[in-house]
Amino acid sequence: MSLTGTDIRNLFLAALALTICALLPLGDNGYWLGLGVTIAMFTALATSWALFSGPTHYISLATAAFFGVGTYVTGLGIDNLPFWSLVGLAGLIGAILAALVGLATLRLSGVYFVIFTLGLAELVRQVITWVQNNTGQKGLYVLTDLDEAGIYWWLLGLCAIVFLAGWLIGRSRLGFALRIIGDDETVAAHSGINTARAKVLLFMVPGAVAAMTGAILAPRYVYIEPSLAFAPILSFQVVIMALLGGASRLWGPLVGVIPFTFLLEAVSSNFPNQTTLVIGVAFLVIVYLLPGGFVGLLNKIMHRINTRERF
């Protein structure tokens, strides 16, 4: 594998941006750090979501399921195991769960896949509620000495891994195979691509990342219960943010996460009951005005400038 000058420059800029982001807790420990945690969380979730759903166009609503599983891994294990091992364990369980879901559903296409993934979060939530009812347990307390800054740094590290993984996948045969599958699955199969295996392998990435994100964020909730950990709204927020930014580029979702987080923050502090409305309107805006997200809009503008220069 050879790196061109642009690659090295991009890697350097990414590392610089990461360092600047990592300095945030030194400047502020309240409101802005809280926003930083939310942005870092959704960046990890939306970017990893787009790694799979961007090229394949399979809309997954399973984020909440993996996320919830991750919070429960921390919730159940925090008294016995060190935090870092729980994050790793959550990633492993998330990846295995994603592989199982993938094997069962990725043969389905389009709307069947969407419905199944939405149902998955509900299924896992009901199972945990059932277990809790039968054991007489209610929620779980997650008490650690990890503060907001610690959580932020963990999430930032996870974001860095996601971007690095996304960059490497984009240069790999697997990434190329996924692009072919997204364009035409029949051609992919007739070009020698094991389409089922490629899809399952890549679906494991958002599964693992969402579970790790949940595991990292569990200490922030202090008390976790199924309705909180498996909130379906999370899946929808991730999809909207990723599509708003544009799922066709690695940095696309980030461009959607930042403005959307600020927007949601402003709405929920001024009109706390209208949050769902904002999400709905955002969905309509994306579908009608920004089908390719901000990335698509940028491409269109660049294209227009280029053609104008030619004439």
Binding site: A177, R179, I180, D184, H190, G192
Partner: protein
């Protein structure tokens, strides 16, 4: 006869009550160009889909150099060296011309990646008559050029057996001559080719042997001039009065 490259025995495909392909038997020898002919709806494309693994067989066996390939998924059959074009051209719309060809080179029979795949794609584009057009978007291509891209992608994994599904259909007379010359050059390289075709000029000048189908069944087999004068064949195409 030595072991045939491809051999079909009792190959049958049923869609519900409809028998699209009925007990087809034929062999294809190495370096042979076999034409698969027949009126519309006679099961030619379905037969090709059964060979390439696009559809599962209802009954029968297909083997490649004596090894059974029927029942295997399309990607495995492709990796064993069988590559195809589609009746309606299928290209990858998000990619440029070169990437479309590279797509055929990375995962198939003979695999290439990186610069090697890139250079190989450029050589193939040169060969099919698209030299220097690698960076173009698909939208800028004419109809015959999209067919050329698809052919280059099909060739990119160095397949032993080529399945061409009406690759010459829809071309104007000049393009047709170019197309026939191109397929001839593939035959001269020693590839084994099965082509589904309606264009008689092409059949006469390209095929060593023809298999004619009607209503899912093989009705004739032989050299182009033999089958084209066959009574059954004339009846299948033109009806009883002309036979």
């Amino acid at each position: 006869m030595a072991t045939p490259v491809l051999s079909l025995r009792g190959v049958t495909k049923r869609f519900g009550g409809l028998v699209a392909v009925n007990a087809m038997d034929f062999d294809v020898a190495e370096r042979e160009v076999v034409g698969l002919l027949g009126p519309n709806g006679s099961g030619k494309s379905t037969t090709l889909n059964l060979v390439s693994g696009a559809l599962p067989l209802t009954a029968g066996d297909i083997s490649l150099w004596g090894n059974r390939i029927s029942g295997l998924p399309a990607q495995t059959i492709n990796r064993k060296g069988v590559s195809r074009t589609f009746q309606l051209v299928r290209l990858l719309p998000s990619m440029n011309v070169r990437e479309n060809v590279v797509a055929g080179a990375v995962f198939g029979h003979r695999r290439r990646w990186g610069h090697e795949a890139h250079d190989h794609a450029d050589q193939l584009l040169e060969k099919v008559g698209l030299g220097g057009k690698g960076d173009m978007a698909l939208g800028q291509l004419t109809y015959i050029d999209t067919k050329r891209v698809e052919l280059a992608r099909t060739l990119a994994s160095d397949p032993k057996v080529l399945l061409l599904d009406e690759w010459l259909a829809g071309l104007n007379p000049t393009e047709l001559q170019i197309g026939i010359t191109l397929i001839k050059s593939l035959r001269d390289e020693g590839r084994t080719i099965i082509l589904v075709e309606h264009v008689m000029d092409a059949i006469r000048s390209l095929c060593d042997r023809c298999v004619v189908m009607a209503a899912g069944t093989k009705i004739a087999e032989g050299t182009p001039s033999q089958v084209l004068s066959d009574k059954e064949v004339i009846r299948a195409y033109l009806g009883d009065d002309d036979a």
